[in-house]
Symmetry: C2
Subunit: 233 residues, 2 copies
């Protein structure tokens, strides 16, 4: 599932990245390339490549004579899927999940509205298929099957919006939904009302009713916010 890990430098990243993302090294901490190379038992070339990648994510800054310093969290490229994964794997997973859910609540309704205008016939069909799959797996503890269709549903909506920025949030939404199912309390079957809303969104998109698609999706995201107690009930 993870995209990195190929090559030695990937291996190093997989170990060092999460550590930094988890705040193990407070902002301003200084790492030396040579020391890191020794610690991970790789050559300086490999370690330098890893540092370059961390630098491109704005997790660290490399300066001559001083070393590799960890940047404050406020400067990180928090939209980098890799960084998101690393943070979700770490200590501030709950906070990260909250931030991302709020982001969802802003993006997805607008995306659904655009999808109603721009979705192709194929995408409409795929959407109803996903919604029906959700219905089919909504009862009797088929959480995994439900999740698959839920993820696919939201991914199609984001893609069908026609906006590339929205489309690229598909992976993020997938992480959030999967996280909710796997790590949060989610032993019971999904809320029937939420399932119905998804079906209705699919209908609205097919009908080209942008306002309705947006409104219904907003109700879905409001539900997601309430689950995390971000909104008052």
């Amino acid at each position: 599932m993870s995209t990195t890990g190929r090559g030695l430098h990937g291996h190093v990243l997989e170990s060092l990245g999460p550590a930094i993302a988890a705040g193990e090294y407070p902002p301003g901490s200084v790492l030396r390339t040579d020391e890191l190379a020794q610690r991970f038992d790789v050559s300086r070339s490999v370690m330098r490549e890893a540092v370059r990648v961390l630098e491109s994510m704005h997790l660290v800054e490399s300066r001559r004579r001083v070393g590799v310093t960890v940047r404050p969290k406020s400067e990180w490229n928090v939209y980098d899927p890799q960084v998101i994964r690393w943070r979700l794997a770490g200590a501030d997973r709950p906070g990260q999940l909250r931030s991302l859910t709020v982001l969802r609540s802003a993006i997805e309704p607008v995306a659904a509205g655009l999808a109603a205008k721009n979705a192709t016939a194929d995408q409409c069909a795929e959407l109803t298929e996903c919604a029906l799959g959700m219905v089919a797996h909504s009862r009797g503890h088929q959480l995994e099957g439900y999740l698959v269709h839920d993820i696919a549903f939201h991914r199609v909506v984001l893609t069908a919006s026609g906006n590339e920025m929205f489309a690229r949030l598909g992976d993020v939404v997938a992480e959030v939904l999967a996280g909710r199912t796997h790590h949060e309390v989610m032993f019971e079957d999904p809320d029937p009302a939420a399932v119905t809303l998804h079906v209705q969104v699919a209908e609205a998109v097919r009908a080209g009713d942008a306002a309705r698609a947006e409104h219904l999706t907003r109700e879905i995201t409001v539900g997601a916010l309430q689950e995390l107690d971000i909104l008052a009930p």
Copy 2:
């Protein structure tokens, strides 16, 4: 203004990144590290570091025996500020500006609503200061001064929302606003209605009126969409 450029590998990136982002190399194009190193007159080590960064942005993929292949645009990390800058500097600048403006229209109203709940007293003061600055520079071709306060205003709102994901869009919004002023037709003074809206948003945030702040900001973004003919007038 640009964060990259330090070191040889930065120079290479500054040249190769925009070229790829501009679509100069169609998806699937194959580059060889050694050839690139020769072309840019740098050592392989340096070129490898540059390629690693491009790889972390998902602009290219490096595979043994085949080379460095350019990925399809749909896989790029389009939220990477560097990638955004590169694309804004290239041929599909208009499309990029449209995508980002739509993104703004989704994010900023929600951010303003949250800001109304979470903004500190300092942030409220800063906000009104920005709004007043906009008013002060809204007449008599003081576009640069107006822009500075406009950017600051939106940055404060995004930061005051308390959501780190929103906060990190400050730079993106700045790019969009600056782009509109510098490269689009913007010879006349800003729309007085827009200026008023900003002042009112500042008031709503200070008053803690989330719904009003969100609604007013939505009106601002609708105006931005109309400017680009994304919405019917």
